[in-house]
Symmetry: C2
């Protein structure tokens, strides 16, 4: 598939103009843009500008409120629940993360559960806000039900990612950002576009049989929890996805399990929803609430250098540390620009046309 | 293999007497016994009394201090670091969890990182302490290096478990307790005793090739992170195990990565250890720091009932909720007693003989 290369600034300008066109304030448009483009620059193409038209369509069907009144509805010194007023998760999650950081400054840690939100982009974008404060950042979110728990054929959970970001000293930060499924939905979409089979253990068909068809979700199939099947620990991936759901939605009063609102605006909302919007969970832990930050960072450097020095298996160049591939991608794309598939470019152009904004 | 059945009380009496014989106070002996036997009663046989002789051997080589001065070395309103003074993790972890619970009562959440400890038994035992306080409990620990990160042949991490326990209303509590590997080491030990092959994806040989030999760790092989290989998401299991290591050891000043002390007393300590003992991480979150506990529990019931009602795949009886198998085992063993393998019985008898304590 052919691609076209854009600079970060080109995509940033376009994205801000689109968000402003749907009614976002300048500040919200900038924040939403930064959340969204952090995916493109880090190489997680499924969660970046390729989704811009999706957010616009959610606004068109009145599922996204461009001028939300984001507010804390309950709090203690180390916790808060935030109601996002149906705003963009791309704006609500950074707001919630800032609340977590402020609480961590006061009492050591801050933990914020969010309801009434929408898709928040990549978890890493929010968790990494903690780094410059010498804090460890956490971000989780629930998502549209695409995943069948172990032994089930019903789709009960989203790909429910977990991100933990921890600062190091001379070494770059540790950033683990992972969907709790064998493969993220974005990886499946890449195989769909190429019409290539999935590896065994990624998806099952509507009867729960192992499948290699990347289109199987449209035929009643499901993504599988990390582990793939019971023998390979899928009950652990299922449990991790469940933990994310509990923290993101049951602590906040958002929708959970199969009742989470679907991302595509054309998919009807589930009946009898038990909560409001989708849910996130953000956390910040001040390093020096445990140990002097310099000591911790020296240990992190030692830890990271130990893993980089581990013996690779024959045929592999090196052992990676969580965050390495995305950081390398960010360095390359900052220099060389961000390649977008022609289908994505066309989609952006059509979205821009709605508002007289050109790419 | 033949087994012999004991009542919980029989094993409890014996275990307390052994811990007292090595010098533990009555209170510590009782606490250590409860931590240890919570594994047997819940069916996690690898982490229960079968390990008692191992703890005694660690005491014999002076790696376990039976009369530790467990103390808080640093704290903020929501955090603490505890030095376990080389005591039994079975005693230190409940102490640390109580500190987390007390902090959660004050400021909403409490988070405690522990250094200078030893093996703490099952994570679930400690996390579940939060439940009676209407709190969510967390427990993690690092452990002897048996796991090769993705692309590596070096064993760099332990099976580093994560447990999250959350209360429900009419339904039993949600308890997810999982090693961050495809299979826990205990599962491997069961296959070793039966000389049966492991499923593919559990272990690799010393060159990083896939293996089905349950004895392969003795020949330079390694356990694999949850996911098994890169294509099936082993980088996610690796990242989760790394997160556990960071929270348990890098926040506390314990040993980490390949420097974690081995459980078997005959295995020499790694050279140039960067910290003290092994590390744990315990957390408590007061539900009503987020939302009225009754509302949360009603949602938990709804969540759990939704998963129990999910359609099982053909050939499977029902969809389980994390914690179900262990709770069912606990009910059965409370009634019928705890079966121990003859080899374990013999090992306990020999341990007892050292101190004139009979089983």
């Amino acid at each position: 598939m052919s691609t076209q290369v854009f600079s970060y600034q080109q995509l940033a300008d376009f994205t801000v103009r689109v968000f402003k066109a749907i009614g976002c304030s300048e500040e919200h448009a900038q924040t939403a843009m930064r959340s969204l483009l952090s995916a493109d620059i880090r190489g997680i193409d499924s969660h970046g500008v390729a989704r811009l038209s999706g957010y616009v369509r959610l606004w068109e069907v009145k599922r996204v409120n461009a001028t939300p009144d984001i507010r804390i509805v309950h709090e203690t010194p180390s916790t808060a629940v935030i109601d996002g007023d149906s705003g963009l998760g791309l704006v609500i999650a950074p707001y919630a993360m800032q609340v977590a950081i402020d609480k961590a400054k006061q009492v050591g840690t801050g933990w914020v559960s969010v309801r009434n939100s929408n898709h928040f982009g990549i978890a890493g974008s929010h968790a990494m806000m903690a780094l410059e404060h010498d804090m460890i950042g956490w971000a989780m979110t629930n998502a549209s039900p695409l995943v069948a728990p172990t032994f089930s054929i019903d789709k009960m959970l989203g790909t429910n990612p977990i991100c933990v970001a921890a600062p190091a000293g001379k070494q770059p930060a540790f950033v683990a950002d992972l969907a709790t499924t064998t493969a993220a939905n974005g990886k499946l979409e890449i195989l769909q576009r190429k019409s290539q089979p999935t590896p065994t253990g990624w998806v099952q068909d509507k009867e729960g049989n192992s499948s290699n068809d990347p289109h199987i979700l449209k035929q009643g199939g499901a993504l599988l929890p990390l582990g793939g099947d019971r023998e390979h620990g899928s009950h652990k991936g299922y449990a991790l996805g469940a933990i994310v759901d509990l923290f993101s939605a049951l602590l906040s009063g958002a929708n959970y399990a199969p009742w989470v609102p679907p991302f595509p605006a054309y998919v009807p909302m589930p009946a009898q929803q038990p909560g409001k919007g989708i849910g996130h969970f953000l956390g910040a832990m001040r390093i020096d609430a445990f140990r002097p930050a310099e000591e911790f960072k020296q240990s992190m450097d030692h830890w990271i250098e130990g893993f980089r020095a581990a013996q690779p298996m024959p045929g592999e160049e090196k052992v990676l540390v969580p965050g390495d591939p995305e950081r390398e991608m960010e360095a390359a794309r900052s220099k060389n620009g961000i390649p977008l598939l022609e289908t994505v470019v066309k989609d952006l152009e059509e979205t821009g046309k709605k508002f007289g904004v050109s790419l």
